[in-house]
């Protein structure tokens, strides 16, 4: 005891870690009434760490060249390297769980209106994380060089190409479209150069960006203070009874939830991998053989369904981009200071429509493109657009009610 204690004291005298620990973990207070969905941010953090660690192991054996990519993943990593399969399973599961958790995290933020003052920056940085995360997932998906990888990549790079279908300024849009597609592919055809660029982005550029953005995100969450499910900003000084120390109150709760989350995670890793390493991707990429049905991964299906159910490619692309943009400007669209679906009945209903609309779009996107499917896609697409566009009005009505009941300015 004595020696270790002295070493710790020696370090602490120079690094002042105890002070830091006390201010970050114990003096930092969070609302006592946080609900379960507030844990998704922590799950995202855990999954991020899992991805980095498992990715580092895969990086040791993966070879980013067209001749070797498929074999290095499917022969070397899955068969030759002890426990290589385990790390590939973990990384594939992690990618899907990461996207799922991020969506749950975002829907939580929307439900409790955590994007409103004073948390707009938290939301905006979160949105940037979401964009980079999609890029990370897309680039990673190309690496095993299977049929799905290859054709998924081709289809995705061609989506910005639909700008060329513009009804006006055709030459202008066409030039932009060609430039973007060329830039994404790194040339007119997919070659080793493309694969090398995608590889470099996936293993270094995007993860570094994510690391930086997540750091800023966490700092901002703490700077602004975590939101309250009641939608009321309690003052920490005036209502100390409504707050608890982050440690041990939150850490132990979230620690337990994280363990159970990992239990589910590893169920997929060991016993249910076929949806994350799909059979079709065990056929090596063949540029001469187009598969019958090409669709993006599930986390983009909602956007994809909106895109493909609109007859004009150009307007499909505009709708696709508009959805992303609406997410970014949520704090503006939903302008009133009233927070949390708990005390906003209209918003609660709109949120339900939005949630089920997104789910329906995702499932429609996984089906074959029949005319009925396209019609349903239009309807649910309209529901999702309706959610965003009705927010200013909902804000207006609810704020009116609030004032009429004698509510104070917040």
């Amino acid at each position: 005891m004595g020696l270790i204690q002295r070493i710790i004291d020696w370090i602490d005298e120079r690094a002042h870690v105890r002070e830091l620990y006390k201010s970050l973990m114990i003096d930092y207070k969070v609302p006592k009434n946080l609900t379960f969905p507030y844990v998704f941010g922590v799950f995202a953090l855990v999954t991020f760490v899992i991805q980095i660690v498992s990715g580092m192991v895969l990086l040791l054996y993966y070879k980013p060249s067209i001749a070797d990519a498929f074999d290095s993943a499917t022969y070397t990593i899955m068969g030759e390297i002890p426990f290589g399969w385990l790390f590939r399973h973990i990384h594939a599961t992690g990618a899907n769980f990461f996207m799922a958790i991020i969506y749950l995290h975002m829907f939580t933020g929307i439900y409790y209106n955590a994007y409103k003052k004073p948390r707009e920056l938290v939301w905006i940085v979160g949105w940037l994380i979401y964009l980079v995360l999609i890029l990370t997932a897309l680039s990673g998906y190309l690496l095993p060089w299977g049929q799905l990888s290859y054709w998924g990549f081709i289809v995705t790079t061609e989506i910005p190409g639909s700008l060329a279908d513009a009804p006006i300024f055709k030459d202008f849009f066409k030039a932009i479209a060609e430039t973007i597609v060329l830039w994404m592919k790194g040339g007119y055809v997919v070659t080793d150069i493309t694969l090398g660029r995608v590889f470099g982005s996936h293993v270094l550029i995007y993860p570094l960006l994510l690391l930086a953005l997540v750091g800023v995100h966490l700092y901002l969450v703490r700077a602004a203070g975590i939101s309250n499910p009641d939608g009321i900003e309690y003052d920490k000084k005036k209502h100390p009874d409504k707050f608890v120390p982050f440690h041990p109150y939150m850490t132990l709760k979230e620690g337990a939830y994280t363990m159970w989350y990992l239990a589910i995670f590893f169920f997929f890793v060991f016993f249910h991998i076929s949806h994350f390493l799909p059979p079709d991707n065990f056929e090596p990429a063949n540029p001469l053989k187009t598969p019958a049905h090409i669709a993006p991964e599930w986390y983009l299906l909602a956007f994809y369904e909106v895109f493909r159910s609109i007859p004009s490619k150009f307007w499909g692309f505009v709708a696709f981009s508009a959805l992303l943009l609406f997410l970014l400007i949520l704090p503006v669209l939903d302008w009133s200071p009233l927070k949390s679906a708990r005390r906003r009945p209209l918003f609660f209903v709109a949120f339900l429509a939005f949630m089920y609309g997104s789910m329906a779009l995702t499932i429609l996107g996984s089906m074959e493109p029949t005319p009925l499917n396209a019609k349903l896609g239009m309807i649910f697409g309209a529901v999702v657009f309706g959610f965003f566009l009705s927010l200013p009005i909902i804000s207006f009505i609810e704020y009116g009610w609030y004032k009429a009941k004698g509510g104070k300015e917040q």
């Binding site: 070797d68 068969g79 363990m259 949806h275 059979p279």
Partner: protein, 239 residues
């Protein structure tokens, strides 16, 4: 929790679970073709590692491999198990290429000293003329079958090999097995393809035990965490 809280939990928790069940377990809205293996030969594909001859230790997969070399390797390679198309294999220079550019096949902890894994570009460069001649006779190079089991599944493979034209109308792959033993031989080849892509039973058991241990660890550790939290919070005077 209030009754309204319970209802909301059911709405949100329930629909999230149903949604991910559809995405990650079973999607009733998505059409998937289903192929069945004939009842009488199911057992053969079930366990490719089963010994057929106790004395030599020969397995069903070994028999399937011999059949594959005799009947399929004229057109198909299976690089992950060191099988290359017959004209290449017959070329005396190929042995040297295997030694120089390849490495012995090693899979699921077993080393096969007599088989070589050769990188795809090296093989395709060496076999260029052979593959080109295939292309002109069949319209395409018959695919390497290293991972076809994972890509297609056993039902599809069984039906396809037994009668290629039934599954892919107009295909240039001919039916290979005919006569009374056709089903059995087909099943043996499929069993072999399976053995290349699936860990053998003892390895599968090891993985399953590992999986159960990891999951139990997290479940139990989580519960202990939870219990510990209650103790700590009581001591600190929260509820």
């Amino acid at each position: 929790m209030t009754p309204w809280g319970v209802i909301k939990t059911i709405i949100f928790g329930g629909s999230t679970l149903v949604f991910f069940f559809i995405l990650w377990f079973y999607n009733p809205f998505k059409h998937v073709e289903h192929y069945e293996v004939d009842e009488e030969v199911k057992e053969i594909i079930e366990n490719p590692w089963k010994k057929v001859d106790e004395k030599s230790g020969k397995t069903i997969a070994d028999e399937g491999r011999e059949l594959f070399i005799q009947r399929c390797a004229g057109c198909h390679s299976l690089r992950y198990d060191g099988i290359y198309v017959a004209p290449v294999q017959a070329d005396p220079r190929w042995k040297k290429v295997e030694q120089a550019a390849g490495r012995p096949v090693y899979r699921f902890g077993v080393l096969y000293k007599d088989r070589f894994f050769v990188p795809r570009d090296v093989y395709e460069a060496f076999a260029h003329e052979v593959l080109e001649s295939f292309k002109s006779s069949f319209g395409q190079v018959p695919p390497d079958l290293s991972t076809i089991y994972l890509a297609r599944g056993e039902g599809y493979l069984y039906r396809f090999i037994l009668n290629p034209n039934e599954i892919l109308p107009g295909t240039s792959m001919p039916p290979v097995f005919a006569g009374p033993s056709a089903k059995e031989e087909t099943a043996k080849v499929v069993a072999y393809l399976k053995s290349v892509n699936t860990p053998p039973p003892q390895e599968q058991t090891k993985r399953a035990i590992m999986g159960v241990a990891v999951i139990l660890y997290f479940v139990i550790f989580g519960a202990l965490f939870w219990r510990y939290r209650e103790v700590v919070l009581r001591r600190l005077g929260y509820h």
